[in-house]
Symmetry: D3
Subunit: 123 residues, 6 copies
């Protein structure tokens, strides 16, 4: 399994575990999350996903960054748009964001180019 597949498999398995726990809170939170990124008349889906990516990177949430890179690409974002999103996140969040920025570029390459040998630093 590639790095990307491994990440997706873990995410799916554990999301099923969480939603299978019987918790109404988690069920509603997940559905609220879906709602927030839907087109509702204002921003389009791509912009919403890029926003989610921007916040995730500035707040240094590695799995969130990976997830939103995938979703932004699916919604039609170009590499240029994703890199500009990285720029804004890093300028707002400062150099402390750089380690996460390295992983973000690594994952972007893995998803876009089909490589990503999984030799990543997670620190």
């Amino acid at each position: 399994m590639s790095l990307q597949e491994e990440f997706q498999a873990y995410r799916s398995r554990m999301n099923a575990r969480i939603l299978g726990s019987g918790s109404k809170v988690f069920k509603r939170l997940y559905s609220l999350d879906t709602l927030a990124y839907q087109e509702e008349g204002g921003l389009d889906k791509k912009t919403k996903e890029l926003m989610g990516l921007c916040v995730s990177l500035a707040m240094r949430c590695d799995s969130c960054v990976k997830y939103h890179i995938e979703e932004a690409l699916k919604a039609g974002a170009t590499e240029t748009e994703i890199v500009e999103t990285f720029e804004i996140a890093t300028v707002i969040g400062g150099t402390i964001v750089i380690p996460e920025l390295r992983r973000a570029f690594d994952y972007l390459d893995a998803v876009m180019l089909g490589d990503g040998e999984g030799q990543e630093d997670r620190g």
Copy 2:
């Protein structure tokens, strides 16, 4: 002076103080900030400002939120787009963002409607 004017006056005065300190680091940081929000071929100005707003709200930076509300409006963002940006920030950042969300709506109203009596809670 209205709440909005007071905020802008303080920001201008202290930015002048910082840039007048002779620090090359601050001079370059401010110019980097300007660069990051410029149109460079990918995202348009409005989207970049909304992203800055989204991160600012999720990370609970009150002055940053106010500043990006102003800039987003100047760049042509509608109230609907701004409120959807608030939604994404609050879903990502959780209920701990709600006090800042209250101030964000208050400032948005102040800027859009010309009111904003300054009776805000800053906690």
Copy 3:
């Protein structure tokens, strides 16, 4: 109006503004928030409110701290329990929490003793 009344009035007014905006996201988020603190068979209401207080203090959200102090008291928490909650939050979050701890004690006194002259430092 006392400090406490002013805080409550602002919170109520702006919550009405947010829920009146027509946003389904905010409506559901507020109702999710209510759900999370309800008794559902495990923890009692008081413990849940004290947990909310503990996180709010450790994450330095002033309005959240005030809100959960009120709710914890309503749910029957004693001063000793609240102070022990402050202790855990401050040990986890470190000395950077101390300014917020000062405001938390100030608000606790205001609510419990009916004083709280509003001469608080918000920094």
Copy 4:
């Protein structure tokens, strides 16, 4: 070694290294940490550990979450109480907490069921 044993072994080895460094600051900090979670007349041990867990999850500290899951279980917390603690932490901290929530459920299962094959995502 299971995931859980590996985590515990590393923690023990490095805590010994830190306390063996001769630093009075670390010695006192560790003893303060112990004191904060002791029963002192107000909250019981279980509640204190669940609070520590709640803050750790909301602030996305993976090792802290694992540690407090273990301690909460030792202090008699049920799975329901732990899941309700997860709920509060995630509602306060928002969807950015979800990746850590996945690991928290994974570790809870590992500790309770004796599985936990160590195939975790750390992002």
Copy 5:
């Protein structure tokens, strides 16, 4: 009372309240805080205070910034050293630190020049 005196008075009054609460945890935390900034054979007092200032600014704790500005000046730090400390904090923490940086310069001026009219923005 000047801005600075008001801040100091509030801090003193509430610290007395906290230490007077009978909590052993807070008593030991305050004494641990004192210990951490004492000269113990490695770094000198001035460097330790500047470090505290740097972290406080990067983590956007307004009262902490004010406190460490005062302590750094008392320990003999020059304006140049303080401004360089501000630079490092802002580069690490990013543009989201800038509103706090404005208040930091304002307070530095208030302390060094004896002005500081208290017309500060707290957002």
Copy 6:
């Protein structure tokens, strides 16, 4: 490859990727980062690196901590000075910093003693 070499190789490779992306923002941010840590008449290089280390630890950025440990040692910092820097960061940031503190000591030992078997916990 040792833990340290692996970390350095990943960092170098991805920094080259980022700077090779054509982004002016990242190019200027990296050069601003270099500028902030240069001697400019106030603080010396060693003190600046220790400050960067202190903030990195308090804000729990693992790669940043590793990087600044290396740079502080290169700039002549002693083990005592580094441990005192760890102390200040942990007291400010609280017990939530402890897992990162364990990894910081581990990496310090790896760099100073040439061991560091890579058996680290990353949680």
